[in-house]
Symmetry: C2
Amino acid sequence: MATRLHDLPTPALIVDADALEHNLATMAEAKPGAANRPHVKAHKCTPLAGLQSLHGHRSFTCATPREVMGMIASSMGDDLLLANEVLDARRLMIMASLQDQAQITIAIDSDATLDAAAEAGLTRVIIDVNVGLPRCGIAPDKAGALADRARARGLTVAGVMGYEGHLMMVTDRAEKKAKVDEAVDLLLAAHADVGGEVVSSGGTGTYDLHDRVTEVQTGSYALMDTSYASLGLPFRQALHLWTTVIASTDQWAVCDGGLKSLGMDHGNPAIEGQFVWFCSDEHITFSPERDSGNAIAPVGSHVKVAPAHVDPTVAYHEYLHIVRGEEVLDTWAIDLRGW
Amino acid sequence: MATRLHDLPTPALIVDADALEHNLATMAEAKPGAANRPHVKAHKCTPLAGLQSLHGHRSFTCATPREVMGMIASSMGDDLLLANEVLDARRLMIMASLQDQAQITIAIDSDATLDAAAEAGLTRVIIDVNVGLPRCGIAPDKAGALADRARARGLTVAGVMGYEGHLMMVTDRAEKKAKVDEAVDLLLAAHADVGGEVVSSGGTGTYDLHDRVTEVQTGSYALMDTSYASLGLPFRQALHLWTTVIASTDQWAVCDGGLKSLGMDHGNPAIEGQFVWFCSDEHITFSPERDSGNAIAPVGSHVKVAPAHVDPTVAYHEYLHIVRGEEVLDTWAIDLRGW
């Protein structure tokens, strides 16, 4: 692998080592140790999870069975929470077979997901509670009965989780705090019926508004994206797509990033001092911001592109290159992709 | 691998074998043999390229060096056009070293891309001409001089290519035909100066409006997406994301597709008879279309999701499962991913 930034084949994901360190240290100070359960879905990279572990977090959140299996294969499995519902018997059984190597807790929110987990031989579940986001999660007033049924089948019920994803991008802090409190009220009401030691909630957009849960599930803080950057959080943009300008005219330039190297659901990526016209499969067309006085990027130059959404960006790539200035310190496999 | 559709682990890309066959046969009738140069970027799957070859097309278009290398590794390399500019010396040299196994033609649109190709030892180029899309491509009136410089360096100049990507989604057919003609006028003016036997243009959205080029570069027609489906083309939706409903309430259901299994730049995917509320990383929240009388999908049921944009959807996945009804006929690796 290349050891100099300008030798990297493009497009390539690069991570600023100092920004990453800043982000991990800042979160570890605010939510130390088990108070944060980092979500690996945001980077899908066990070496990066290892760095989070060095910052004191030994419990992790996963979104897919593949993430659980990969974390265990990399000995990162002290305490893994699969914060998602799974019905596939085969993958549930594979995870059950790994319970001697790791504590695995899986989310359930229905009789069907309880049945699937129990029949596969998984022994530990958490009740996923709907706290306002129209997605998974059982209604708060039904959570206790589901926990009772789980215990009746011999399962350990770890507690409750509830993700207030609909509140992550609320910009007014007082409004956000009030709404997070309402969501936590729902979660705690469910917890009163469910029992168990774990009350898990939150994300990068709300981590500092939680003081009544036992842990937060933060993912994006490690690498960040332009969407979370708009919230004024104390985390830096650590992730960029490193690209080469392959064409340049008197009106625009084109670099070799695009729709297959960037998650696009939050819109176009950003290039400092430049305006992004549009993205194609393997191209970004861009030009200097109006009145910026910036030059049109010449052919052969390199451009750092800031993704709008970190998670689906990382999922396109094989590697994260860890850089400091011009030096490529290390290249990490994004080894938790797929399902 | 599973041999029944309902045994596939989800999310999984499935391809309707009969729709695929219909699409390939329809295109092969309209643009037989060398009149179509299928673009592998739309499927990134050498077995599917093999099927296109059985339909008479032995020349292919690629968007990345990895696609070129993978096609040659799979003996699909009679005549490969890399329809994109590349400056990376290492990958250019790898491709140059493969010229004894395949005819490789690479697009150039500047002195820098000419120099890079020549210095790497590539021997055959095509002049990429800007026919209206603000992306790569040299101005038509400068194409001849670039071809002269290429020949002066000992390179073979195959001809010209120009992609009218900005016209693909024009819905009025007469307007589209007129605009395609204007683009082809530019391309032919450049060709008069450049020479060479190849005049390459077009895509799935314009293939039947071209009668003055030697070949069209069509990609999406094989698998299709909801965006191209809106054009009324004679191709069927062959590709779906096969998902499992993992949660269901009295207002919505949730399946296990999402932002990491679907290209999102063309907006939300479609589910027949259902309205898609939003997509999360690993979830789609949806409910019956208003007044449709459709039921909310129950937990454990399966849902076929039609992607809005085929190319960046395929790029997320490891496999295409070829299905007919309930039977999984074959599973093909999406082996041309990456750069």
